[in-house]
Structure formats: C-alpha cells, structure tokens
Amino acid sequence: MRRILSIFKRDILSSFRDYIILYMIIAPILLTIGFRFFIPSAQSAGLQFAVDAKLDTEIVNEFKKYGDVELYGTVDEIKTRVENIDDIAGITKNENGEFVLILQGNEAHDTKEIPKMIIREIISNEDLNVEFKVNSLGLEESPVATIGTISLILIAILIGGIIIGFNIIEEKEANTLKALNVTPMTKFEYIIGKSITGLILPIIHVFLILWILGITEVDNTMVLIMTLASSLVGIVVGFVVGIISSNQITGIANMKIIFLILSLTIIGAILLPQSKHFLLYWAPPYWIFTGFKGILLNTATWGNLINYIGWIIGLTFIIYIILRGKIKKGLA
C-alpha cells in the first residue's frame, strides 16, 4: 500500500512541477464555463431573415415571431447579406407591392420554405377552422445541453487516462521504468499507483461540471458509481497508449486512432436510429454515453445502470485480458 501511494505521490509531485495537474484540473472547468455560455445561443437558434427596413413594422414583427431579423436599407444590401456563407432569407417587396423572397440557392429546406409560409400567413384572409394547442413535458435540458454535458464528462474521464499514458511514455524515455523494475515494487502496485489519478480526478470534475451547468436534480450516487466505472476506460486507454508508444510522437499517433474510434462511437450513439445501436455494443464509450444520458434525463433505473456498468467493466476487462501480455511486456 505504501508503495502504491508513493507512485501516486510521485506522479502528483511531478505533475505539480510542470503545472500539468493544474491544467488538468482547470481545463474541464474552463471548457464547462465556455459551454455554459454556448448553450443559450444554441438553444435559441432559429431561422434568420434579412428584411427590408422599409416594410411595415407589423410585417417585421411577424417575421420576428419565427426567427432573428436583421434590417437592411436597400435590396442590394439584402442581396449581399444573403450571399454570405450562412443560411439567411431576404425579404422585400417589389414595385407592385408583392412580397419577394431573396435566396442564394443553396439554403437548407427550412430557410427556403418557412419564409414563404410566413408571407402566406401575412397575406392570407382565409379562416382556418382548426384549433391549435401547445403543451410541454417540462423538460428544460435540450439535447444540445445533454450531449454537451456528456461530452465534457467524457473529456474529463479521458484526460486522466491521457496523463497516465504520457507519464508512462516520459518514464520510459527517462529510463525511470527500468529503475523501478529493479525495486521491490510489483507491476500490480505500479498499475494501481498510476491509476489513482485517473480515478480521483474524474470524480471531482464530473461533480464540478454538473454544478457549473446547474444540473442538480440527478441521483448523485448513480453519478458517482457511473463515473468510477467509466474511469476504468480512461485508465485502460492511458495504459494502452503509454505502453504501445515508444515516444511522445507515437503516443500522439496512437491516441489519434483511439480517439477517432471513441468519437465515432459517440457520434454513432447520437445519430444512429435505436435499431442500429447494437453495432456500437462492443465499445465501452457507448455504454458510458448511454448511462450518463439516462442519469441526466432521470430515466435510468438502478437495473439499467447495473446493466450499463456490467457492459463497461466486462468490455474493459476483455480489453485488459487481450492486452495483458503487452502491458506486462511494455512495463518490463
């Protein structure tokens, strides 16, 4: 136990010397603060209209009901704005007093069609004998906020692993590993000692992320258990990168492949229809994503959580067993 704590203490001291630990602690927090500023603008995203300033205020207000309105004094100014990269529809009236919609040609369907519907709504006199009602389920977190929060949590979990990986590479380069191999310390003690950072930091980060984003109505025990299980993935990734990489360059190269696989798993979980999610079952990050999504939306039961954690631990164990020989050899 003393030797395990010594390894942990050495890692922390060495990290403090290079300010790495400070960066590691601060980075996810800064990202979360940045994300907090980003959420409101992403949630209020709608259509954009470049409207002729000469049109009546009521018409301008009608467009404001459906999107952001920018006013322009001349038709040429509207055309210049419409030709910019983003999607925006220009609205003006011709000499006969008829509405004219100005488009660049490559806009998305909604930017082309919704302004036409608004114009029809303005000029139509017909009474529609239909009643409309809108009710909500009261959910405040948008998918953007939920996915963003889970991504931040995953970053926090993986940062711990990455630092473990690059610490191992540095120790290999400085021959510290060779020196440690002639001490009474066992490989198991070395692995556990190295893993402590990857276990403690994610817990601190995950709760800080949730607190900064104001996500308080979640089951904290579930969050803690899920974070601990997920940290195993970060630790294994860290060890794999550290052991198979002979120097920092190959470390970066290996990290790129691992990160591509991780990111594609998450993108797949977001975009693929539920019926095709079985294609992602092999990837532990898929279960981390699904587990945290359930916890954040308060839809996960303890039964679900045990299932997700079972998959994470089981898959991580299989990866460990497959790479066990390589890890032992790499640490030798």
Binding site: S44, A45, D110, L137, I249, A253
Partner: protein, 351 residues
C-alpha cells in the same frame, strides 16, 4: 538554402515514417471512409422524431391523413402510436422528439403539439405555422410567393447525410492534423536537443520550421486523397480541395509551432492544444445547422474553411468562396509563420 530545406524535409519524412505517422494517417482516413460508406445511414437526420395519434374523425380527417403521409415520405422518423399516453411515453424515452395529438372539439379539429419543454418560442411558432400551411395547401389554398434566386447555378442537390459529414472530417483531420502532430515532432527534437544543435549550424530557423510544415502538408494531402477518393470518388473538385488543405495545413501547423515554442513537453501544452482544437471545431455546429451562425463562430477562421471545403467536395459552382478562403488563409499562414519564426528565435535565444 533549398538544399538545406530538402535535407531537413528528408529527415522529417524519415522521422514520420519511423513513428508511424503515415500509417496512422492512412488508417484513420480508411476507417472513417469505410464507416461513412457502410455504417452511417444516408437518411440519418438530426431533426426531431415525431410521435402522433389522430382521434379526430370529422370532415378534415382525410386532409390530416394526407399531411401525415407526406411527412412520413419526407422524414424517416415519423411514428404513429395508439394514444396520447403512448406519445408522452415515447417522447420521454427520446428527448429529441415532439408529439402531435389530433382530437375534436365542437366539431372542429384540435391539433395539440406536445413539446419537450426546452424548445424556444420561435421553434414552436414555426411548428404551428408549418401545420397551418400544410392544411391550407391540402384544402387547395396555395399562394405562390415570388422568389429571386441570386445564383441558380449554386442550387444544391440533396447530399446524403453520410457523405455530408466528409467536409467535417477533412477539416478536423487532414487540415488541422499538423496542429497536433507538429507539436509532438518539435517536442521530441527539443528533448533530444536537435533544435539546440541546429541553432549553432548555418541552417536558418525558417528552413527548419518550413520542412516540418511541409511534412504536415504531405500527410494532409495523403489523408485527403484516401478519404475523399473512397467517399465521393472523382466527383470532387480536387484542385480546389488540395489548395484549401495546403493553406489550412500551413496555418494550423504554424499555429502548432507557436504553441510548441512556449512549452517543454506535450503534457504541459496539452490543455492549450485541446482548447484550441475544440474552438476551431465549433463551426461544425453551424455546418450541421446552417442558420445557426453566431458572431463568435463566424469570426473563427475554420468557419469559412469548412464551407469552402464543402464547396470543393460537393461543387455547386460557388467558386468565390474557395478563392476568398484560400486568399484569407494565405494571409493568415504568412502571419502565423512569421510569428512562429520570431517565437522560436526568442525561445532559442532564451535557452
């Protein structure tokens, strides 16, 4: 001068080969291309799923059925359920969804939209407006709106979703590749003392940095050819695409060199690298939601670059965006290169 540059480039290419840079870049491009071609469905949508139930049996039932059938044809995620309760049950399982329940009151249809709660008022208004418009059309009340399309040549064909994510990959991989890889290369040489040894040779720092940037351009171009070739074949405007990848690589690599000049190893610089990478990746959101373009995203250099790459991969005739982006990046690349040379001169003098 050229001899020294080519000698350095040869050395950097050998370092890249020995450290599997070429293998990794090609492997990542092939993995991505195969996933895009065979795993990501063409009709994937980020639009919300719709769950609906129609109880109404009055005169307008046929019109409502017609509107729903049209939606089902256009969107893959419109689902019929058997009750209002089932709508809510399904919506709770899928947070990116809305519900529609049609019933009758005083002989007229009542259309209830059930939202999750996070949707803004403008989105809800648009939802109601869209339904009103569809009902009017199904009743034969169609009003034509005069439309002036500024550039008919740029009217875009619908790009399948799986292929549409290729420009995002081309931005984050081949173009921004140099940002991270060059850091690792520089730190390795710092560690080995190569830079210090080079500083006392007749070689100039410009040649040293330019050879590293050239390696990143070569890697970026290989990744671009492999990935774009597999995903869209010969349909892209490769000349424009290569131009964009080259100027983008020079900019990102020079930026990487500036960052590397302030730190001693990768671990120290990691947070800055991650933060800048995330910042430069933000235009992806505007790419997927083209009407979401706040100023803080539009001012990022990767914003026009991403759309210019899209134009090069899926040409619509809007070549101005390619020319203006290449020009902007030539200026940015020259500026970042000059800054990187100065920062190396300063840090070398300090060391």
């Amino acid at each position: 001068m050229l001899n020294r540059y080519f000698a350095l480039l040869k050395k950097d290419i050998i370092t890249g080969v020995r450290n599997y840079y070429f293998v990794v870049v090609i492997a990542v491009a092939i993995i991505f291309a195969l996933i895009v071609n065979f795993l990501v469905p063409e009709d994937t949508s980020i639009k919300p799923a719709i769950f609906y139930h129609v109880e109404y049996q009055g005169d307008m039932r046929e019109n409502i059925d017609e509107i729903i059938m049209e939606s089902e044809r256009e969107h893959p995620n419109v689902n019929r359920v058997n009750s209002r309760e089932e709508i809510i049950e399904n919506m709770k399982k899928k947070d990116n969804s809305i519900g529609m329940f049609v019933t009758e009151s005083n002989g007229k249809p009542v259309i209830e939209f059930i939202t999750q709660g996070y949707e803004n008022k403008k989105v809800i208004n648009t939802l109601v407006l869209s339904m009103k418009n569809s009902i009017n059309e199904s009743l034969g009340r169609k009003i034509d709106v005069k439309t002036n399309i500024l550039n008919k040549d740029v009217e875009m064909e619908r790009i399948p979703f799986n292929k549409s994510i290729l420009p995002i990959f081309l931005l984050t991989e081949p173009t921004m590749l140099g940002f991270v890889l060059i850091l690792a290369l520089v730190f390795m040489e710092k560690d080995e003392g190569t830079i210090r040894a080079y500083m006392v040779s007749p070689g100039r720092i410009q040649e040293y940095l330019a050879s590293k940037i050239t390696l990143m351009i070569i890697l970026g171009l290989i990744s671009t050819i492999v990935c774009t070739g597999i995903v869209v074949g010969f349909n892209a405007n490769y000349l424009a695409l290569f131009g964009l990848v080259i100027v983008g690589s020079i900019f990102s690599s020079a930026l990487g060199l500036i960052i590397a000049s302030f730190f001693d190893n990768l671990s120290q610089s990691f947070i800055w690298v991650a933060a800048i990478n995330i910042l430069f990746a933000l235009p992806m959101v505007s790419y997927l939601l083209p009407s979401f373009a706040p100023t803080y995203i539009k001012i990022l250099p990767t914003y026009p670059l991403l759309f210019a790459i899209r134009e090069a991969v899926f040409p619509t005739g809007n070549v101005e965006i390619i020319y203006s982006t290449i020009l902007t990046f030539i200026v940015l690349s020259i500026m970042t290169f000059i800054v990187s040379v100065f920062s190396y001169k300063i840090t070398a003098a300090r060391d």
